[in-house]
Amino acid sequence: MSESKTPVIVAQGVTKTYEDNGVPVEAVKGIDLTIMPGEFTAIVGPSGSGKTTFLNIISGLDTVTGGRVSLDGKPLSEMTGRELSDFRRDSIGFIFQAYNLIPVLSVEENVEYVMLLQGIAKSVRRDRVKEILARVGLADYAHRLPTKLSGGQQQRVAVARAMVAQPSLVLADEPTANLDSKTGGELLDMMRDLNRTTGMTFVFSTHDEMIMERATRLITLRDGKVASDEARA
């Protein structure tokens, strides 16, 4: 990880206040952060520390109240809604805690969705889907509907979908929270493996110790600010 590489994420003085049922909530009170390519970073903190909000901001899912965010050198805070959409489509993969998949589309259709948005040719799409499903061990489940999959399987499809369009960054918000420890562990091993072999950057928001164990960098948030930032083996 040399200094000449472009950082994946640069956050400068980011603040965010939103309204919850009419009550204003200051979720993020000033964060400066840089994330480099290839990291397997976990952002931890108690409920209400601003983890999810911060993750939403650096991925373009939400807007900042103050400060600036750039992704791959491009300033997110100045993009229009449309530009943000396109950006997310091309550069970021998402994995949520639950309900990741579009329930009316099959596994295969879910995985290829982003590529459809990108306008990639059918044959190329199909090949990549097959390849990535094999990678995550779900090649036989291509035509299943999400409701017929177990929690762990659904999350694996989410990983496949997050990676298939070869984004710069994969953001995972509590991906293992709904899984038992064995399944969760397997999922994380798979993701760590992908990180090592492809060099794809992973950023997690989590309380889960299993993630913290595997992370190369641990950032702790408290009350909307960075409390600590340590590198790990």
Binding site: N56, G81, R89, F94, L117
Partner: protein, 410 residues
């Protein structure tokens, strides 16, 4: 290519919640069916009334002297009637025609006196134009050549207290002199149309007898026409009417003879349109409700879809597509409902039993008529309407940021 996935999504999303789709679809469907049904009944009524009016006695059109229709003055006979008849015989647009003489007069029996329209008809050609021969219930329709034969309606017969074979006296005024001409006739036939005007205030005699009584030998007041294509009757400016409206004569279609009928139809069409619009105003509220509800249920999912890179525009379009699918299903339901109801009714008919409306009595059963435009234009309009209303929820969905969407679901 990127659009197809959204069509697919829209389709599957609507079918996902079958009960809701069914309920909403039913509401829209009923509204549509109601419109189709009313339209069909209107057409059926129109056809029925027009057919009754024209085929019972009026004809598709008439030629007469200008001004005769207004005053019924005996002197106003058709100019150059023989030439007109010759032309009509060669006229390709005219199927059949017949001459008539009309006089307003009195008819009396020992028991009573009544005002009457005495109509002289040509027994040979009249049956082509009117249904007097078919309406006979007693006696016969001008057999032989007895000039003292007269046909009256059942109601008139009752009024005069006469039966077949009885004597009655008819008094009319002679043309030009105004002298009264009185003749005795024998009731040779009694008819029944179930139309008050005809059953009570008309009497038919032979054309030559009427001409003689009124001093109008060789003349006629009216030539009734039956056309090959009766839609011409609805076009007052048509060439046919123009050509025969010369020399002081006028040729007109039934729409001019019965302006009331035409007006009523236009009025009803207008009324149905307004009703349709109002009905759909109500239905549209249900549509918006349904769409919003299905949005709220899937907030997190919408957030995910947006996170993946779907543009706000594509999001709004998805909602509109869903409205389109819902609309499509509703149209099919509505059309089916309408088709079934109409199929039954156009077979069985509706009995209006002799109700008089705008001067015409509805005699036969009414058969609603289905036409292509009902099943194509109305559904298309409703479908379009549904998708336009969906703009409200669509814009709402498009404007949401993904994060807000995901927050809203908790």
């Amino acid at each position: 290519m990127g659009v197809m996935i959204f069509v697919k999504l829209a389709w599957r999303n609507i079918l996902r919640n079958k009960r809701r789709t069914l309920i909403a679809g039913t509401a829209i469907g009923i509204g549509l069916a109601a419109m189709i049904y009313m339209d069909a009944i209107m057409i059926g009524m129109e056809n029925n009334m027009v057919a009754t009016a024209t085929s019972t006695f009026l004809g598709d059109g008439q030629i007469g002297r200008e001004g005769f229709r207004k005053t019924f003055e005996a002197e106003l006979t058709i100019n150059n009637v023989d030439e007109v008849v010759k032309d009509l015989a060669k006229e390709p647009l005219v199927d059949k025609f017949t001459k008539r003489v009309l006089g307003l007069g009195m008819i009396s029996s020992p028991a009573n006196v009544s005002g009457v329209s005495v109509i002289g008809i040509d027994p040979a050609t009249e049956p082509d134009l009117s249904k007097v021969d078919e309406a006979m219930i007693m006696g016969s329709y001008f057999e032989g050549d007895d000039s003292r034969q007269i046909l009256i309606g059942r109601k008139l017969a009752e009024l005069l207290e006469v039966e077949l074979g009885d004597r009655i006296v008819v008094t009319v005024a002679e043309a030009h002199t105004g002298d009264l001409s009185q003749e005795m006739f024998r009731v040779s036939g009694i008819y029944y149309f179930n139309v008050a005007e005809m059953d009570q205030r008309m009497a038919f005699v032979r054309l030559d007898k009427a001409q003689a009584m009124m001093g109008l030998t060789g003349q006629a007041h009216q030539i009734a026409l039956k056309l090959h294509d009766n839609s011409i009757a609805r076009v007052p400016g048509h060439d046919l009417w123009m050509r025969y409206s010369v020399n002081g004569n006028e040729a007109v279609g039934w729409t001019t003879l019965l302006p009331q009928l035409d007006k009523i139809f236009n009025l009803s069409k207008f009324g149905i349109l307004i009703l349709g619009v109002l009905l759909f105003a109500i239905v549209s509220l249900g549509i918006i409700n349904t769409l919003f509800m299905s949005l709220y249920e899937r907030m997190f999912e919408f957030g995910v879809i947006r996170a993946l890179g779907t543009t706000p525009f594509a999001m709004g379009r998805l909602v509109i597509f869903e409205a389109g699918v819902l609309g499509l299903i509703s149209q099919i339901m509505g059309c089916l409902l309408a088709a079934v109801t109409l199929a039954i009714l156009s077979y069985v008919g509706i009995d209006y039993g002799g109700i008089e409306f705008a001067g015409v009595t509805i005699v036969d059963r009414l058969y609603p008529e289905w036409q292509v435009h009902q099943f194509v234009i109305y559904p298309a309009a409703v479908l379009l309407f549904t998708m336009v209303i969906a703009l409200y929820p669509a814009i709402y969905a498009a404007k949401l940021t993904p994060a807000r969407a995901m927050r809203k679901s908790f």
